[in-house]
Amino acid sequence: MNRRAPVLQVQDLSVRFRVAMGGVFRRSYQEVRAVDQVSFDVYPAETLGIVGESGCGKSTLARAILGLVRPRSGTILWEGDDLVQLDEESLRLKRREIQLIFQDPSGSLDPRMTVGDIVAEPLRIFYPSMSRLQVRERVAGMMKMVGLSPDQINRYPHEFSGGQCQRIGIARALVVNPRLVVCDEPVSALDVSIQAQIINLLNDLQKKLRLSLIFIAHDLSVVRHVSDRVMVMYLGRVMEVADRDSIYLQPRHPYTRALIESVPIPDPVRERARARRALKGDIPSPLSPPSGCVFRTRCPYAIPACAERVPELETLDGGNQVACLRHAELVEQWDSAAPVDDWPATHGAED
């Protein structure tokens, strides 16, 4: 585990969106708390996985880190600069160091541009003085690195498969040598077999280039495969942050536990034998989140106190963090019972 100075420190970050609520003459607005008081660190050359159901603010968080949406409050410290306070132009220049990989592989590529132009775009923007030959060489090298043949440089995105398009997206993100890459569900739109290729590619590139990655996904097995640490989000808030093994083997938060238990085991005998405690109900509307702990409406362990107090993100002995009022007693209760599951380590995207 890496405990050097973090490259990125996010503190109390909140993103709100105004939603128009109709009304003909005077429009009323309500606020959606997309991201609410989120804090976390990213260390050099580590992968932080972010998991959560859809609508829990993962993608908004990713966009806030890049400055594509402006946060309401909080700080994003990048090498001593607070990105929240920067003006548009300085923020734009910071994007040379923080890049984004998108969920929709082909939708994030301009259909009118050739692959070469797409990958070269960040270079043209940040290094306008580079000669055509230099750009071309760098693009060809990058394409090789992500497993594309450089002779496809003049082809168009619609001539590629989803996995290849995602490779193009990765090449575009890495071509300017960023230090942090935010991957917003980079594999959830791909076939499982392709997912493994893309994940292994990201892993290899991370080692080779010593990148920090923020890896957003809703697939727990994918996150387990790539992450050093995992952050669990629910309704815009952080529920738990822990290193990979503790989150899977010894989850502290009821929500994390429920998530892990809901993953099917690829073994019908064990799967049937397992006691299912699937979460009931839907995510509450982020327009009016529950008082106190946002998870209490679906939490099987909720007590009246959960409705009154918002649980702080507590830091535990090993450096893991959890936001639950009852985590100490619950862990004892769980530990005395059977272990969570012998979580199948070979499930999903292993090589």
Binding site: L68, R92, R95, I153
Partner: protein, 301 residues
Amino acid sequence: MNEATRDAFTQALDMRVIRGRSLYVDAWHRLLKNKAAVASLVILGLMVLMVSVGPMLSQWDHEIPDWDNYSIPPSLETGHPFGTDALGRDLFARTMVGGRISLLVGVVATLVSLVIGISYGAIAGYFGGRIDNLMMRFVDAIYAMPFMFFVIVLMVVFGRNIFLIFVAIGAINWLDMARIVRGQTLSLKNKDFVEAARACGGTEMQIIRRHIIPNLLGVVIVYVTLTIPQVILVESFLSFLGLGVQEPLTSWGALVNEGAQELETAPWSLLFPAGFLAVTLFAFNFLGDGLRDALDPKDRL
């Protein structure tokens, strides 16, 4: 890497590179399968060729009368294949010269409206919010102004001048273009690749230029092919009212106007320019339809 290996590397690269088929190349191939569109393209090509070299082929000038032949019917013997008008001027030469003006007005006024409309609409649509509101209300305001009134005021203030026709038609036509482009921009700016460009550090203007405008050109091209005939018609209408080009210069609209007055005595002076006008308008409209089908991604089955 030293110089020689680098050269060898790029050369090797050049030789192996495969050319991809862009969406426009695809569209072009689809267009070539559409017989009406190809025929229109050929007709328009011929039309441009005729009006550019036609006047030189004729032994008569478009403004000097043939003093011996007033209002004669078409005949090759007299050297007037389309006949002459009431003043003895060769109708073939006049139709060709008139075609030059009509096509020129159509193309130039459309280009003017294209340039203004695209930049205006793309900026309004991309920045959105208050800027968009302000810019589009200005468009609405101009839209509400009666076109003929606008043209007459221009003529009164600046005198009759062919240049003014370009200005007047262009000044009205860019409004439609701006609205179309704005609508397209609104749907484009939420696409992932635009956000990707922002995440790559592109400035707003770079994004508009490199991503928004190239992606809305498909719709714009279709609209252009439908605007050109519309502009030609407007010019004909202005000329018909006597507000268009000035004698001895002429246009198809002006010729139709003159021909209509001599319909009973010299029908050919109406039929020839009207025929050319109609064929050109048809060709543009068919081409526009063909382009729309070819560029429409929903058609890609």
